[in-house]
């Protein structure tokens, strides 16, 4: 929405957005979109809907594997740090205990494992979801504001090889959509 620019920017269709009224409608429509063989599409809901992953045919989330990596990193890094600092670089005897000793490492190893796992979980989730992303053609829709309130949406992107705006529209209309709109994005010069 660059009202300031002098020449009218070139635009192309970015996606088709359909609005649904209930969780049941959107989940049934999602199953239809899945069966129609689209790839670049998504559902947008104010809260996660039980069964939607299956209705969309999504594979399992990969966050868990990233967390495993984070956990192993934290554990190894913590062990290496304490071994090197207290055992190698500057050994000190405190309370008659050997400079390098494993039992007293347990609390710090545990905490660092948890810390690195949590970093992996949170930042891994951002990475997989490609967030933050503050600009997206879907935000051009005023109706889409209610996707975080009480309405449910499905979007099919123009990037999809099977994309055809008219076919998509009739697919949505046949799936009990309350409103269908075509959203455009600016083409970079």
């Amino acid at each position: 929405m660059s009202a300031a620019s002098k020449t009218e920017p070139k635009k192309r269709v970015a996606l088709v957005l359909a609005q649904f009224e209930t969780a049941a409608d959107v989940i049934h429509a999602a199953a239809k979109v899945r069966d129609a063989g689209y790839n670049c599409w998504d559902t947008h809901t104010p809260f996660p809907i039980h069964g939607m992953d299956k209705a969309m045919g999504l594979p399992d989330s990969r966050v868990g594997w990233l967390v495993l990596g984070g956990a192993l990193t934290g554990l190894t890094a913590g062990f290496a740090m304490m071994w090197w600092m207290n055992g190698v670089d500057y050994p000190t005897v405190v309370g008659g205990k050997p400079p390098f000793t494993t039992p007293s490492m347990v609390p710090v190893l545990f905490e660092l494992t948890v810390l690195f796992s949590s970093f992996a979980a949170v930042f891994g989730m951002f990475g997989l979801n490609k967030l933050p992303r503050h600009h997206h053609p879907i935000f051009e829709s005023d109706r889409f504001r209610s996707a975080t309130d009480d309405k449910f949406f499905i979007s099919i992107e123009a990037e999809d090889p099977k994309f055809n705006a008219d076919k998509v529209r009739s697919l949505f209309e046949g799936a009990n959509a309350k409103h269908v709109e075509v959203l455009e994005e600016e083409v970079e010069a």
Binding site: I49, S61, V108, V114, N129, R133, T148, D150
Partner: protein
């Protein structure tokens, strides 16, 4: 999702006032941040700001003069500062318990109160971290606590429980803050989409990271949320355990006991729930959140307080038993001295507040009575403060040799430091209530009948 779709066919009780629509829930919670603050908010906020100023002055004076301005002296070198540290960390625990442990146990009722409790955790842990920070005496070399290269080429001693504590509380704060922020993202997007002016749209829009409610995102988001809950559960148990190691690994009679880790954790949950209750009752009234915070939530919390109060009572009894059973005369003396010595008044305050006062929750009438639960929640936190005071001061003030015995009496600066951290806490909490969604909007919606895709299959047309 799975865990909190409402099981209407099992006649589960409603978690949101029956008949509410999704839009009404959004409106109730989001409008708090949009409307002018009610007078009650200003009264509390101004009070909190005054205490915050007191905190600034006190800590400035402390840094200028040194820790001698506190009452700490031989043999009680740990006194109010560490009491306050343990008290604040403990209060934080309920937040994680509600947000993580109850999440794993599929306790859907947590959605009404988890955001509150998580915010409380973060602010309480911040207050807690202040105390060891200002107690070190030379706060300008605070970085020596961390494993960072310094001019002496020395590294921290990783065999010290005090260092474990730094890692435990530091990790706890970081993980809790991330957990809280992840939970906030969808709700920040709700606020962004309701924006009534450009600034709100920019600020909430920036913080919401461009969230668009995508199911591909929800999938990773929910997995992350579950993993964070699973990580936070052992973390929260470890934190107060490690705090108790500060005491338990020493050779001071009254501290050197194996019951400390579970006893500290139970006490932490107990005091944390009491603090959540105090804050919740006030906010619910001031911001009219009756649609999402029901009597059922309050009653369940009271039951948890009854349980943890009795766990704490059991630990008090067991400490006495073990002191007698150990046959160690120093250990026995410490406990007799606690109950009948010069600090007996503190000991019996602790027993009455923590063990006796929650017993009123055996009665359904009292468990569902708001003035009663408000008073008890405050009494419990007074009692839990005295518990830490009793553990720390009574164990230290009678050293092994009578020539090293002493008494501790706090100074005005001790008192103002403590009240000052109340200012830190309530200032942050009031700002949170005013500017962020105080109840997890998207999670509450997930517990409503409309969230169930089969809702309409089960309810005949027009029956609602």
């Amino acid at each position: 999702m799975g865990y909190y779709e409402p099981l209407q066919e099992l006649d589960e009780a409603y978690l949101v006032a029956p008949g509410s629509t999704l839009a009404e829930v959004t409106e109730d919670i989001a409008s708090v941040t949009e409307n002018a603050a009610p007078r009650g908010w200003w009264i509390v906020f101004m009070g909190a700001l005054s205490l915050l100023a007191l905190f600034g002055g006190t800590v400035g004076y402390l840094f200028y003069r040194g820790v001698g301005v506190w009452g700490n002296s031989s043999p009680t070198y740990w006194a109010w500062d560490i009491t306050n540290f343990v008290w604040w960390v403990g209060i934080g625990h309920a937040g994680t318990l509600i947000s993580a442990v109850l999440f794993l146990f599929r306790q859907k009722w947590r959605t009404g109160i988890n955001r509150f409790a998580e915010a409380m955790t973060i602010f309480a842990v911040m207050c807690a971290l202040i105390f060891p920070g200002i107690h070190v005496g030379r706060p300008w070399v605070l970085q020596w606590m961390f494993p960072l290269p310094n001019q002496m080429s020395l590294w921290p001693n990783f065999k010290s429980p005090l260092l474990w504590d730094l890692f435990a509380v530091g990790t706890y704060f970081t993980v809790s803050a991330m957990f809280w922020f992840v939970g906030l993202i969808p709700d920040l997007a709700t606020l962004r989409d309701r924006s009534i002016n450009k600034w709100r749209q920019r600020i909430y829009g920036f913080l919401a990271l461009g969230w668009r409610g995508s199911n591909r995102h929800w999938q990773n988001y929910e997995r992350t949320y579950m993993i964070l809950a699973a990580l936070s559960t052992p973390l929260v148990l470890s934190v107060h355990s490690v705090v108790s190691f500060d005491f338990a690994t020493s050779v001071i009679p009254g501290w050197h006991t194996t019951i400390f880790p579970p006893y500290f954790v139970a006490g932490a949950v107990f005091s944390g729930f009491a603090m959540v209750m105090t804050l919740l009752l006030v906010s619910r009234t001031v911001f009219k959140l009756h649609r999402v915070v029901l009597m059922r939530h309050l009653e369940l919390m009271n039951k948890i307080m009854l349980l943890t109060g009795m766990l704490v009572g059991y630990a008090y009894a067991m400490e006495f038993f073990v002191a007698w059973y150990s046959g160690n005369e120093y250990e026995r003396y410490v406990f007799v001295n606690r109950a009948f010595g010069p600090y007996a008044w503190a000991y019996w305050t602790m027993i009455s507040c923590n063990v006796l006062s929650p017993q009123v929750f055996w009665f359904k009438k009292l468990r569902r009575n708001i003035p009663v639960m408000f008073v008890v929640s405050i009494v419990i936190n007074i009692g839990m403060w005295f518990e830490r005071f009793v553990i720390i001061v009574t164990s230290l003030h009678r050293d092994f040799l009578p020539s090293a015995w002493g008494m501790f009496s706090p100074t005005v600066i001790d008192l103002t430091t403590y009240l000052g951290t109340m200012g830190v806490f309530f200032t942050l909490f009031m700002l949170f209530l005013r500017w962020l969604p105080a109840v997890a909007i998207s999670e509450v919606k997930g517990t409503m009948p409309q969230a169930d895709p089969h809702h309409h299959d089960l309810v005949p047309e027009g029956a609602e």
